[in-house]
Symmetry: C2
Subunit: 530 residues, 2 copies
Amino acid sequence: MLSGTPQLTRRDLLAMIGTLAGSAAMYQAMTTLGFAQESPYKGPLKLDGDPKGASVLILGAGLSGMVSAYELSKAGYRVQILEYRKKAGGRCWSLRGGDKYTELGGFEQECKFDKGLYLNPGPWRIPYHHHAVLDYCKRLGVRLEAFVQVNHNAYLHSAKAFGGKPQRFRQINSDFNGHVAELLSKVTRQGGLDQAVSKEDREKLLEALQSWGALDGNYAYAAGDRSSERRGFEIDPGGGQMPVPKPSQPIGLSDIVQSGLWSSLSIGNLYEYQTTMFQPIGGMDMIAQAFEREVGNLIHYNAKITEIDQDDNGVTVRYEDAQKGGEAQTATADWCICTVPFSVLSQVKTKVSSDMQAAIDNLPYAASIKVGLQFKRRFWEEDEHIYGGITFTDLPNTLISYPSTDYQSSGKGVLLGAYSWEAWAYEFTSLPPEERIKKALEYGAQIHPQYNDEFDNGMAVGWHRVPWTLGCYGEWTEEKRREHYRAASAIDGRIAMAGEHISYIPAWMEGALLSGLDATGRLHQRVVNG
Amino acid sequence: MLSGTPQLTRRDLLAMIGTLAGSAAMYQAMTTLGFAQESPYKGPLKLDGDPKGASVLILGAGLSGMVSAYELSKAGYRVQILEYRKKAGGRCWSLRGGDKYTELGGFEQECKFDKGLYLNPGPWRIPYHHHAVLDYCKRLGVRLEAFVQVNHNAYLHSAKAFGGKPQRFRQINSDFNGHVAELLSKVTRQGGLDQAVSKEDREKLLEALQSWGALDGNYAYAAGDRSSERRGFEIDPGGGQMPVPKPSQPIGLSDIVQSGLWSSLSIGNLYEYQTTMFQPIGGMDMIAQAFEREVGNLIHYNAKITEIDQDDNGVTVRYEDAQKGGEAQTATADWCICTVPFSVLSQVKTKVSSDMQAAIDNLPYAASIKVGLQFKRRFWEEDEHIYGGITFTDLPNTLISYPSTDYQSSGKGVLLGAYSWEAWAYEFTSLPPEERIKKALEYGAQIHPQYNDEFDNGMAVGWHRVPWTLGCYGEWTEEKRREHYRAASAIDGRIAMAGEHISYIPAWMEGALLSGLDATGRLHQRVVNG
């Protein structure tokens, strides 16, 4: 900018645009200036151009397969879907009373939850910036409610800290912030930041630390109203002539840092877990069911794929009945979108380029387990005033998540009693399901002794033993992504891969949808442009 | 503890109790050892003993009056309630389409919200530790949903910072934490804490700061995946061959501290606003309606109290018809619970001790205003991906709160467009209601330019002009509380005061309920003990 030119701020510019062109234009300008929409999802897919009767065979009726089928059939394609299971949804799955599930190796479980209760063995929460998931929920009429990720009254627990006694999140959080603010205030006031930070900024920083850290007038984090207004009181304020409020005693810096409990403090600040998160009312598979209502007529269920072949003219897929076996059947189409997880696909004869085959063969899948526990009453609410949210522990169950729905309802309740990964997940699945549940109870009872009296029944799903996925999600390392992702996501002859594993958001439904939409869009371009 | 005695930890003790006496006993022990229940609310009131036909006259059918009536009539008292309005609930109030409201001075407003939409002019959220409110909701069948207080995708806004451009909460929050962690790490590593913190603790502190503040391997808070996983990306991760994710650029320390936006960062850490907060599904007055279903038959509506008299034998209250005026009527009883706000009561001739009269005359009431705005569409969700939660601003409207319900519903939406106090509240109410709404629109449009095109209609309630309260809540200073609280909360002859103002939780429904319960309990003791 030339010297002497009056500096036009972004605000001036916006005001000018607003005056000249009205507020709609101003909002457009704000967007252009970086206001919104970092998402690669740009709204409903537009598939312009005539598909000229082209057909697409979709393998797998999970979210990526169903969204592809939905968009392609709307655009005039002839679509069919082959699905291994007798229902749609893939990992978007909810277990309810009466459901049966048989894992690899033959262990069968029957779910005995009460009516209205469920476990989401797969995805269980939706970030506010998963725009594709939210948009399809809106368009397909899936109602959402808030999922509580951080609950200040839930616990942080370490078997090795505080004598194994769980601590309320609010206390560890307040005290960590308070000590950090006090330490940095002290240093600032003693001149320790004089080199690094300007005088004006130091003054504001002190003001900020005092406010943010609940420091008192002397920049100390100490027992009193200010700290208790964060961490809670020893005696809460009451009414009339009830006992007068009494502040609580903060935990010292050393106990806080040595406890390790700080490792769970920032989870709610992660982009993926920030407020506002959602869950569908009634279970995650409400999304699967909504898609199934749209494309269910295109799905061929119980189809176990045995071979995928292609040539210049089209794709041929051989499959057999997943329940009864028997003679191989054949499905053909001009094009194919394959959403079969690479963990399974690597065991199917597939005619693709060697680059694609290398991608298929080289993507490891994460092992994980979820254990759902039904209790005779919602003791976490009744006894401990924990409504939704998550308790974190360093025991092998890693967490306990309380239902974010039907608060204060009487009757039974189902909580997520374990969500474990890798080595701990394998430890769980080395046992039969009823023993896995016992383990989850044993760990959880260290936090909630009521477990012992109130347990009713449970379900344990280890994803590496789920026959139709053989793993939880495609676990790209940086190196594997560099080596194989481009090939994995390219249209290989007449076949495009889709699913959470063909995305930068593995394990999330958003990854599955965006991948399906992207594959669909590129396939369509190929078709209409010849 | 004697030297040589093996030290018994709390955990050992609990384990021992668990082994000897079972888990229920263990939980009792944990509670006793400080596990739960800081609240003065100890569950449903037990009023043992025979009231021998005693009668109680309750003044005001707000929550404190209705809970007193509910408990007293269950215990066998003869109860009647006098209520100024033609409906119950007091400040627990929701405005819906068709409702009319006339304020002091005569301005009348008719609410034109669409069916299903509402504004809570009074209380609008329930903390998880307001045990009395939650317990009555449970017992009276009021269904709750999560109220979102902190939304990482809502805005922090200052007209004086960032050219007036609102900033996403997640960005200011991540960057503030990051800079604080980086500064304190640097000092720690340079030896600046060597005197204050032990070596073992310094090592753990560094580890904690790196984790909590999203610092990189060099303890720096810098553009990259780690910071973007908190503050969000410039390009979000996508699927297939969508553009690859791109990290965003953090805001510098100086801009963060000078902006003042940090002043709203810790609100979600306050005990009163921590997760999980609630609201009744359908509007706050679902609680009032639930109580009214129980005690409505005891309420005499439209009763404007003109004098409260008492002698050794009982209480006599004179009142007239609040609508039609006319001749004074009289109600008598053995005892009285008066829940009339002191702001109103100070204008009623009341026979009480001089100490009580001093309390009545000396409690100032807070001025505040709420403005509800209906828009033609939920643009905050559709355009800006803000679902529930609150945007804070330094403009006189102070905040914008988005509805924590019916997420993604189509049709119109009502948001809270202003919630202002004292001087700013008086400024609003110096104008007629339609002008107050215009002001709220003018301020809000600086954050959401869509206001200009999408506004439909609004309601503005200034509490200091509400005829039945003449203020928002009893604003005890420390000095006033020392001087007057004991007298205000004492049973004065045959009269006990109750309401949020007779509590240590003024302005909250919990204060009203606890105060009513406490007065009821003490009155009952007086009755049964003669």
